[in-house]
């Protein structure tokens, strides 16, 4: 049984808060909830959200976590904290006092990050719990509605989950409203003022086509489908919005994994070193801390990489080496100021780009690997020649960069065509073949699946007899970059994939449209 009670936690928490404030952390009010391991597994399955809408995939992930836990394959996280105001964190009842202290300190790090980092500004932390609860109630309502039922709700959710990350990533950039978009189109169509009017032929004013849908390439697939598929019922649109909302909430966490974990680890290390733990607790802390932040050879442990980056950044401002002073000039602020500044204004990509230098990369022994035959083989290491390439490759893999971008391009003009976008679960596994064109049966199976997904939306009217549906799937890759000169096929609207920079990714695009 645990060697602590609540009064111990409160005692240490007071000391930790004192240090946190001394560091300059700025946190939401914090709530800690003590739970047992089953609760913890359940929180993990639902990403820590206390009231979340039901879907079988959470049952699946719970079963998986539980099996792994019970067979001792993986442990449980010491801590789990969600981005909300007040921030909600769970402490596991069976953990030792030292672990609880470490966890509490770590949680304040995350809390501070949630509150201050710019990527989280749009998540509206004070409404987090309420929003999720409202989502849960609505989904349950649809499930219990005798005219809808669990099967139809699931079929929409399954499909929506497949596309949920296909949305705009940088939430700090405001999305234009349709009116603003039209305005810009008109402005862009105006011929630029030409100082040499007499020499040039007068450029002709071309009326922009404002009927196109979308006007500009669109990345918010679920919202777009929800807004523009005329055959969806209201509850179906609502489900799409709910799934999109959740993705929007979680994207900042995907975008700042390394920074966030590194920051929390840095914070707990600083705090625990400062609060004068008794010796036995301190020794245990050293063991636990190193278990968390040790490097994972072959992989990339965000705790480790993050912690090293933050530590190095502080050093660069507090005790810069002579070369650094020569290269960047003398530091204009203290290390701590710099850290607080960076934790507010960066996300993983920018953070790594700005602060991951050659020396640190060599210390971390980062390398780039490539599949060769059956093996993964190191292709470049962080030496004089290679470190920039390795870094570029790393930047291509962190955060949302690991998720393909899919856009719906504006259709080629054809006024008589009505477009209807459907959604379908995509069997991506079957689509991934070896760089070549798919074999015929593979293609057929995938298409069948897509069509079924669309046809299932029959409830919403997509399968109405007067609507002809066609699902089109196409892959592109670096071998065949999208040709900007070739006109898009007529009477079709594709979702195209922007992936030309990557070497040979296999991507699938889909579009479905019906014409009446």
């Amino acid at each position: 049984m645990a060697n602590w009670d609540l009064s111990d936690l409160e005692y240490w928490d007071a000391k930790i808060r004192e240090q946190a404030e001394a560091l300059g952390l700025d946190c939401y009010p914090q709530e800690f909830e003590v739970c047992n391991h089953t609760d913890m597994l359940a929180y993990m399955a639902y990403s820590g959200i206390p009231s979340h809408y039901p879907h079988w995939s959470y049952g699946k992930s719970f079963e998986k976590l539980k099996t792994l836990y019970e067979y001792g394959v993986s442990g449980l996280p010491y801590e789990m904290v969600i981005n909300s105001n007040p921030a909600l964190a769970y402490l596991m009842r069976d953990n030792s006092l030292c672990l609880q202290i470490l966890t509490i300190a770590h949680v304040y790090g995350h809390n501070d990050f949630f509150k201050n980092n710019f990527t989280f500004k749009t998540t509206r932390a004070e409404f987090t719990l309420g929003t999720f609860r409202a989502h849960a109630e609505r989904v349950r309502g649809y499930t219990e509605d005798p005219s809808i039922g669990v099967d139809r709700v699931e079929s929409i959710l399954d499909a929506a989950h497949a596309l949920s990350l296909q949305r705009r990533r940088n939430l700090a950039i405001r999305k234009l409203t349709p009116e603003e978009e039209r305005e810009r189109m008109l402005q862009a169509a105006e011929p630029a003022p030409d100082p040499f009017q007499r020499l040039h032929r007068r450029s002709e004013y071309v009326q922009p086509d404002l009927q196109k849908l979308p006007l500009n390439p669109e990345e918010d697939l679920l919202l777009f489908i929800g807004d523009h598929n005329p055959y969806l019922a209201n509850w179906e649109r609502d489900l799409l919005t709910i799934v999109d909302d959740e993705a929007r909430y979680f994207i900042p966490q995907i975008e700042t994994k390394i920074m966030n974990e590194g920051w929390a680890s840095w914070v707990h290390r600083e705090i625990l070193n400062a609060i004068e733990l008794p010796q036995e607790l301190h020794l245990e802390f050293l063991v636990r801390h190193n278990q968390v932040v040790r490097p994972a050879p072959g992989g990339l442990n965000p705790y480790h990489v993050g912690l090293r980056l933050w530590t190095d950044l502080k050093r660069r401002f507090d005790e810069p080496t002579a070369e650094e002073v020569e290269e960047y000039g003398a530091p204009n602020m203290t290390g701590m100021q710099k850290l607080l500044d960076a934790r507010a204004t960066d996300r993983d990509i920018s953070f790594l780009r700005r602060y991951l230098g050659e020396t640190l990369m060599r210390d971390l022994d980062l390398f780039e690997y490539e599949p060769k035959g059956e093996d993964l083989v190191i292709s470049k290491v962080s030496d004089k020649q290679g470190w920039r390439d390795v870094k570029e490759q790393l930047l291509r893999n962190v955060g949302m960069a690991g998720v393909p971008v899919i856009r719906i391009p504006p259709p080629s003009p054809r006024p008589s065509t009505k477009l209807a976008y459907g959604i379908a679960p995509v069997n991506y596994d079957r689509m991934r073949s070896k760089g070549k064109a798919w074999t015929a049966p593979l293609r057929r199976k995938t298409l069948q699946r897509l069509r079924r997904g669309v046809a299932r939306r029959g409830s919403g009217g997509l399968s109405a007899p007067d609507v002809r549906k066609r699902v089109r799937v196409r892959t592109t890759g670096a071998e065949r970059p999208p040709d900007p000169l070739r006109a898009a096929p007529r009477r079709r609207c594709d979702l195209s994939v922007l992936a030309a920079k990557r070497r040979g990714p296999r991507l699938s695009l889909l579009s479905a449209y019906g014409r009446s």
């Binding site: 700025d26 719970f62 050879p297 780039e368 690997y369 059956e374 190191i378 292709s379 991506y428 596994d429």
Partner: protein, 429 residues
């Protein structure tokens, strides 16, 4: 700004009460079950389940309950961390599945990449398989012996029971009764206290009670007179009582007749045995006391034990009639058609000795006369159909409603043919 913090202690009651994942887990399992049911033909073809004990665990690939997302392919480079001194060319791991797809048919060392597998015991699998199958056309015969348990008899109400049998209506009613009684008692107590007053105390108290009730009705708007909580008590709970009712159904016997002649090569025997194994498992699962007779024949027929039937190999020529004669003999001896439902199934490669054909046809029609169902499965692994003779042509002359033939060419055919024999709603032509 100082941070404010709250600690919430662990509460046992919360943890016990809420199992928030229960619904989603159940749904997930249902999906697995559906997926298994859809793929049973493949599973039976892929797994050698013959003669395996019922608690053996088999791996079943699950299709259709994966979650899909757009991802980049496995052929993209990644970045990893070494333990110092990494050199170009060093091997750091295995590429996932994809690398092996090219040409080679080798099994990957990561089975989980394309498949999502689950462990099922054979018993569970069999349950799922036989869910909607039944011995067809079971007739009522004299001297019924098969026990069929039915849990349908309702026998009144009890105060103890399991949750699902809680009768909510009656429970609420008994709470209301108890509440009224309690209020009356309270009223009477109040009346006793005022017994010195001249008015009829009970009547006055009751009137007061009525007023109070009216107040409560109106209280919804005012919100001040909230009714005192009157929770359910253990005594209120009423459960439906259900007893098991043993019903006897008709006697039944299943005759398994298998050709074990020399022409039945390993593949054919395997198919035949798989078929009979399914049949055996089916009967053992669904019926408590159906008798099974095993007959194996080449030129002569013998009644054999289950063990011998499934494991012993024999050789020799083929007289199909011998198997049928033996079955008829056994029926005449032990299972009179007026008392027993008789089901006969025969698996053979149909490579019968020519001179036996007419006898076999005659015996078959006799057998069809006494049986509820007589099934003939002809086992012709792909290709062999073209150079071997077939009994299917000969049996075509046999005109009996309860006689069915199927052709089993591959492992995948076993399950459909099995279902064709036993499906609940057989097409009556």
């Amino acid at each position: 700004m100082p941070i404010s913090t709250i600690f919430r202690p662990f509460r046992h009651s919360d943890a016990e009460r809420s199992d928030r994942t229960a619904g989603d887990r159940l749904r997930h399992r249902q999906k697995i079950r559906e997926s298994i049911r859809e793929n049973i033909a493949d599973i039976i073809a892929e797994e050698s389940i013959i003669g395996k004990s019922r608690d053996r665990v088999i791996k079943v690939p699950i299709r259709g309950i994966r979650e899909y997302r757009f991802v980049y392919g496995d052929n993209t480079p990644g970045v990893g961390q070494g333990d110092g001194g990494s050199q170009p060319g060093q091997v750091v791991g295995k590429a996932k599945g994809e690398g092996q797809a090219e040409g080679a048919d080798k099994a990957g060392d990561r089975a989980g990449v394309d498949y999502y597998e689950t462990d099922v015991t054979l018993e569970e699998l069999i349950d799922i398989m036989f869910e909607d199958l039944d011995l067809p056309d079971l007739e009522r015969k004299a001297l019924r012996q098969i026990e069929a348990l039915r849990m349908t008899k309702r026998r009144g109400y009890r105060t103890v029971g399991i949750r699902v049998r809680l009768d909510k209506h009656r429970t609420v009613k008994s709470r209301v009764k108890r509440k009224l009684a309690a209020q009356r008692r309270e009223a009477r107590g109040a009346a006793d206290a005022r017994s010195d007053e001249s008015v009829d105390p009970v009547a006055a108290a009751l009137q007061e009670l009525d007023e109070q009730r009216l107040d409560n009705d109106g209280g919804a708007q005012r919100g001040d007179a909230i009714e005192k909580r009157f929770p359910f008590h253990v005594d209120d709970l009423v459960y439906r009582h259900i007893t098991t009712d043993v019903r006897r159904e008709s006697n039944a016997v299943v005759m398994c007749i298998m050709d074990t002649s020399g022409s039945m090569d390993t593949m054919k025997k395997y198919l035949a045995r798989s078929f009979f194994f399914l049949l055996y498992q089916f009967i053992a699962t669904k019926y408590r006391s159906v008798e099974i007779v095993f007959i194996s024949h080449h030129t002569e027929a013998h009644e054999v034990t289950e063990e011998e039937f499934f494991h012993k190999g024999e050789s020799g020529g083929t007289f199909i009639s011998s198997g049928y004669q033996k079955a008829l003999e056994i029926i005449a001896e032990r299972y009179h058609p007026s008392l027993w439902n008789i089901y006969a199934f025969h698996c053979s490669d149909g490579d019968n000795f020519d001179s036996d054909n007419s006898t076999a046809l005659k015996a078959a029609s006799e057998l069809a006369n006494v049986c509820n169902l007589f099934g003939y499965g002809e086992i012709k692994p792909l290709g062999s159909r073209y150079y071997e003779s077939s009994m299917l042509n000969i049996f075509r002359r046999l005109d009996a409603d309860n006689f069915q033939t199927v052709l089993i060419e591959r492992k995948e055919d076993i399950w459909p043919s099995f279902k064709a024999f036993l499906a609940k709603e057989r097409v009556q032509d």
